[in-house]
Each structure stands twice: as C-alpha cells, then as structure tokens.
Subunit: 442 residues, 2 copies
C-alpha cells in the first residue's frame, strides 16, 4: 500500500487501535520461564535462548570512573534487521512493517521488513515464522546493497550485534496490511516526528552507501555537500583509524562476570534492580499481551531508563562540505570498547553546567542552528518506554571551542566508509546519520 506521509500516521494509529496491547510491570517472581540462576549470576530463559541479564564488574584505567558494577544484557545471537527495497515506477521504495513491541512508546512503530532474533526465526518461540523471512534466508549477493554486522547500545548490551541487510528486489511481494512501502524521503520526514521510526529501521538506513546509484537518483539534491575531496577523505580516514587503534590499545579493561546479588551500588527488590542513586537504568519484569505478533502472551525482563538521553551531532559547512563532529566513545559492551559516537551522548541530568562545554553548547543552541530535533525510541523488545532526544546542530565554520583528542571532524563519506566495516560507528551516531535530509542544502 502507498500512502502520503500524513496518512501514514493515521494508518499506524489504526493498527494500534485494532490491536490489543497490554504491558504491565510485575514482580520478578511472577516471570514465567525466566529464572534467577541459583548462583545469582543471571536472569535467563529456561531454554537458555533469547538473552540473559548478567552482573558485570569492570576495572579500567580509562576515564574518571575506574571501577563499577552493572547489569548487562547478554544476547550473543546475531539477529537480522532486513529491509527490502524496490523500484516502483521511478521511485525507490522501502518496505517497512508497523510492528508492535512491548517497550515502544505508542506501542506501534515502523520497523524493518524483517526484524528477528535467531530465536525468532529458528522458532524457539514455538510461534509463527516471521513474515517475509524467506527473502532473507538465502539471497543473491547481487541484490544485496547492505549486509553488515553492527553494534547496538554498548552500555546495555554485551557484544550484541545485529545483521543489517538491505535487499533490492524486482519480485512482486505479497504483503499483509501491516506492511507499507515508503520512499527514503518519507521515512526521513517521519523521523522528524517523535517515536515513529524504530531504532532497527534507523540503523539499516544508516548503512546505505553514500554514493549508491539508486539513492543518488532518489535524492539528487544536495548530495555533493557530503563528499570531501577523495584524497583528503582518505588521509583523514587514516587519521581516525590511527586514533581508534591508539584508544583500543592504550587502556586496560578487566571485565568479570559477578553474581547480580554482588553488584556494589545496586539494590534488588521484588520488582526492580536499581542503582542506589537511581541513575542510568534499572532492570524490571513485565508481562506482555499482544495480538499481531509471533507469540501473543509472554513475560520478560526489560531495561527501564531512569533518565532521558541526549544524542547530538554538530555539523559545520567548510568550503561547501558538511563535516560532522564525532567523538571516540567508550562503551563497555562494544567489541573493541571504543567506537565513534555523536558529539554529545549522555544523560544531561548527570552534568553540571560547565562540566561539558559541548553539551552546554547544544542545550543552548538557537532555533536556526537546530537542523533536526526529535525524540526517538530505542529497541522496543528490550527497553521499556525509552526515548532519547536526537539533535543535529549546525555550528559556525570557525567554531571556536577547543576540542580534545577524542573529537574529530569527519565528512559523511568518511563516516559511511567506516560504517561499511563492523564495529566502527555506534548505534547512536548511526541513528543520527539516518536522519539526514538530503533535500536540504545546509
């Protein structure tokens, strides 16, 4: 089905209305098939599949805090986030699904064509095989525009990665009425609204090569401002690889699994695992009742954020080329601990004014500087009603702030080149990259 952008919201609302969705917080003791292990090390499913919540103790000589404990989601399976794309008439369309997920704000958001954990598609759920899974079971390499393993939230997930796939098809695809074909522009417009396009859709779209002929055709305008000179681009890429190698090899990380019950600074009640200072996040238990999904009723632990995050990337226009201010970001769960993140990635509540000048700058940016600004959810299958503020903020070309070694101005071509390979660009920065409106000259 094709709808104009405004009607998409009605269509989503309609799917939400006709679905029965009930998500409640429950006691850990009321979780079914999920148990605290006897040794206290984890909360896990009786099959050992899906994911588990485990206790971690970290010691490091990087940063200001050199030792802490935290729960983390251990989800070693690599899931599939797959979008099918097709040229219909003269335009390229992306096939998205209005998917209900228990943690989503508004419950229904636009997800990739296929969004499935290995447990999903290997039917550990004992439910239905995910719709359109057959397209991703085996496909022709020539049809594949993107096939990359990308990290997810490294402060919440231990080495989790998903396979981001974008497939070009010429086939006629039979779709159910919870699927929709949208153009790239439409999706970007929908991202300007709060909590409509889910994280998994955003990460897949961020992986599309900048120069891909299909997209270049679709978004002809303003593409040129994202390329630097290729010699300069290559030299800068070398610099950033050097910088990352330096971070990755200069610090010491001792990561030890410990019983959840031994985590210092954390308290386990009947309903929650929380930090004494209530910062960051807590672990909760939920019961979920949904129609319109593989399995309609289950219980599961979830992560609930106690603070709203701010993910902002600064951009500037130097000689007609847009540069993005990226930051080398440490996250304990990422494969190599360090990936490139946005300029600002934090919970602003945790900072005093003056503590992080770039954060202060973003918070006081004026309206003309703010190119993009909306609230977006994170993974609705693990995170309970989480939303974070995403911003793209334009600064002057002679932006005068002193930047530490962690920061680097990169062109989009450089960032896209890094995204092509695994474990270089984190999910927050990828989300921001997916929000770029190629119709706007900045």
């Amino acid at each position: 089905m094709f709808l104009d952008t405004n009607s998409v919201m009605d269509w989503i609302e309609n799917i939400k209305t006709r679905s029965k969705i009930n998500v409640k917080k429950i006691d850990f003791a009321s979780l079914e098939k999920w148990y605290f292990s006897n040794d206290g090390y984890r909360i896990s499913h009786e099959t050992g599949r899906f994911f588990s919540i485990e206790g971690l103790r970290i010691e490091t000589d990087y940063g200001k805090i050199n030792r802490w404990d935290q729960p983390i989601i251990n989800q070693p399976e690599i899931g599939i986030l797959g979008i099918i794309t097709k040229k219909i008439g003269k335009e390229l369309y992306f096939l998205l699904q209005a998917k209900i997920e228990p943690g989503n704000i508004n419950y229904v958001q636009l997800s990739p064509t296929l969004q499935a954990t290995k447990s999903n598609y290997s039917k550990v759920h004992l439910g239905r095989t995910p719709k359109l899974f057959e397209y991703f079971r085996g496909f022709n390499a020539d049809d594949c525009i993107v096939d990359q393993l990308q990290s997810e939230q490294g402060s919440r997930f231990l080495k989790k990665r998903n396979r981001n796939i974008l497939l070009l098809t010429k086939e006629d695809i039979q779709i159910d009425d919870d699927f929709i074909w949208l153009t790239y522009d439409q999706i970007v417009q929908l991202m300007r609204l709060n909590n409509v396009v889910n994280m998994d859709t955003r990460t897949v779209l961020s992986c599309i090569p900048l120069g891909h002929p299909l997209l270049a055709q679709e978004n002809k305008k303003a593409f040129s401002q994202y390329y630097g000179s290729s010699a300069k681009d290559a030299r800068k890429l070398n610099t950033i690889l050097h910088k990352l190698s330096n971070y990755k090899s200069s610090y010491y990380f001792k990561i030890k699994k410990i019983p959840l019950t031994d985590m210092e600074g954390w308290h386990i009640s009947e309903k929650e695992i929380t930090r004494s200072d209530n910062k960051h996040f807590k672990v909760i238990a939920t019961s979920v009742e949904i129609e319109n999904r593989e399995v309609s009723k289950w219980t599961q632990p979830m992560i609930e954020s106690t603070q709203c995050g701010l993910f902002a990337v600064m951009i500037k226009n130097t000689d007609g080329i847009i540069h993005f201010l990226v930051r080398v970001k440490f996250e304990i769960g990422n494969f190599d601990h360090f990936e490139l993140g946005p300029t600002v990635q934090c919970s602003p509540d945790n900072y005093e004014r003056g503590e992080d000048l770039l954060l202060d700058y973003v918070l006081s940016a004026n309206k003309e500087q703010i190119i993009f600004n909306s609230f977006q959810s994170e993974e609705g299958g693990r995170f309970y009603k989480e939303e974070n503020k995403y911003m793209i903020v334009k600064v002057e070309n002679d932006f005068g702030m002193n930047l530490t070694d962690e920061y680097e101005w990169l062109t989009l071509a450089q960032i896209k080149e890094l995204i092509k390979f695994n474990n270089y660009v984190n999910v927050q920065l990828r989300s921001l990259i997916s929000m770029i409106d190629y119709n706007i000259v900045i």
Copy 2:
C-alpha cells in the same frame, strides 16, 4: 648501516655468532615464576602478565568436527609491531632489527624496528625499555602510514591482536649495530630465503596501502596489474562483506574455558601437553638464556608444532589483472571466528590425496607456476622452532576447478582495502601478501 642483500646474511650470521643463545626444553616443574593454577585452568606467570596457556572446549555447528578441546594462548594485551621508514637519498628504507628470539629457527631474524608486548614496554620484565620505543610512544598522525590492530594465529591465540604501525620519519635516528636499513625490494628478496624475515615484519609490511605514493615510487613496475576497475572492485568488496556477514552470523559457537587437566584427547606429562594422536601442536616448557635482549635469562612455556603447515595462495591473471583466491577461514581464537585466509592453509599430513583438491593441486604444481616458495617461521616468542611452507602459485585464467562458497577471487586492491580494517585478513594471508615482488610482471 646499509648493506647489499647478500651481505645482510653475513651480518645476521655475525650477530648470531657473537651472541650466546641457549634454549632447552625443561620439565613444567622447572618453570620459574610460571605455575599451573590450583584449579587446573591455566599455566600463567606469577604477575598475571605476558600470556597464559588455558584449556578450551569448543562446540559448534560449523564444519565437520563439532566438538573438541584444546589448549590456547590467552594474551589479551595488545603489543606493538612498529617499523620506522625513511627516505634516504631517492629510496625509501625500512628500519629492521636483527632480533634473537628463543623459538626462531636460526635464532636471529629480521624483526620490526620495535616489537614489544605491553609487558615489555611497561617494564614488567624489570629489564631495559625496548630500543627506539620512544618513537612509538606518541607520534604525529601525519607521519603514520599504517596503524591497525591485526589478528595473529587464531588456532593458537585467543583473541590476540597486535598493533601494526608504519611510521615515516625525517629525523636522524641513532641506531645500534643490530639495526639495519633495508629497501622494500631487499626485504622481499630476503623473504625468498628460509626463515630470515620474521612474522611480525611480514604482517606490518602487508598493511602498506597499495597505492601509497611512497611505495608506488619505490616499486614503479608492475603495480598496475594489481588494480581492478574501481567500480568492479567496490562491487566485489560488497560481495565479500556480505559473505563474511553470512558466515559470522550463521553458526553457533559455544566456547568454554575448562581445566587443562579435563581436556579430552590431550595428555599432560612432565614435559608436554600433547594430543593422543600427536596432531597439530603441543605445549612445552623451555629455559632460555640469551644475551642481546631485554632480559637475558628466563623460563617460559612455548607451543611446538608437530606438523609442518602449508600456506598457499593461488593467483591468476585475468585481462591483465592479478586475482588472488582467498578462502573464508574459521579459526576459533579470532574475534569473529571467520577471516579471509589463503587458498590452502593446513597441515598436509592430515589430508588424504583427493580429500582437498586445491591442496593436491598446489602440491603438484610445476616449477613455472610457483611464483614464490619458502619456509618461514612464526612468532619466535611463543612458537618453538616452527616453520611453515609459504607458496604463491599461478594458475591458468580458466582455472577449471569447482570452488565452493568459501572461495572468492579478489584483487590485491580489494584485499588491501580489507586489511585496512581490523579482523578481516588473517596472518597467514597477510604474510603471503607481504611476499609479493612488485618488480615481476606475472
């Protein structure tokens, strides 16, 4: 000092002669400062540094053998393999060191300018700081040609990586008489001899970007045959990334640390940890006495190969462009289990004739096809007198063998692009790439 290639061998021999080197196999009980842990899980140094030998149990649905136990070297520290390069007159020279290592065949081999574990340069040895370390402590990104984290033998090392650095300098460097300036061509000629250029030098050289102006100037001839068309190159790179994502996400690996004493199929005696069938390798204990190194006397465990390996890459010339036949290779210790390796990487003894047709082909290649053929050592600090046969074998353009999905013909430009990012090209293939003689038109 500058020497012609022939004199280099005399110079190495001279260093060997004037050094006192004594390496003996000893009982595990005679190891000093190295102990079997009480729980049997590891042999480790009393400081907890350097490395440890640990027991691993692997279960997987990949390949023919779905469960096995093995010892593995756990060396989580990222060491530095750094070469300084400098333009002297019109030629580019690389600064190598004649380094004595206990496991080396011939004891003395040409190593990078700096070859140091973190324990080395942070002085856990209580010995001298490695020579010329100050150049690598902090350097200008503009001087940096290569700075990459690269894997080492994934069947022997658990997630070991070293930082491969190539630094261009204009400074006058004071060097001791165990250092030597050599051109790229000289080093490649020395690789035609057995066991002269060590593994660490080979891996650093393999990382040099194909089109780097300094090298292109140095090796003008025959460079063009290594580039494909850039559009074709990019498309094929996409294909190989897709293929690797598919391998990385399709299989199940359960890796569990187990006591060395519990390893099935392995036997621990006073002197060795060996497989009952004596295949692959064993763990031994050694005492080492060396003058001309940071610490002159110590004991340590080492790995001794029980079989000679064969690492061969097939090449063909299609329309003037050289293509390399690479293979998706599983190695348990590699970060993502799968990297690209050479066409053949095995111990030929373990194969019957007819079992691996590409192996048979290489073993029966005629003289004209063999572009490169020599024995080379692996890491002399961990492996006891190991040498493997490295071969580059040319096949006809219409090479008629059926290749399974694991194989792919890549240009050197594509391989070099993959080397630029971490964990894509394994150390055996990188070694072979370092052996390419750019003066020869193939």
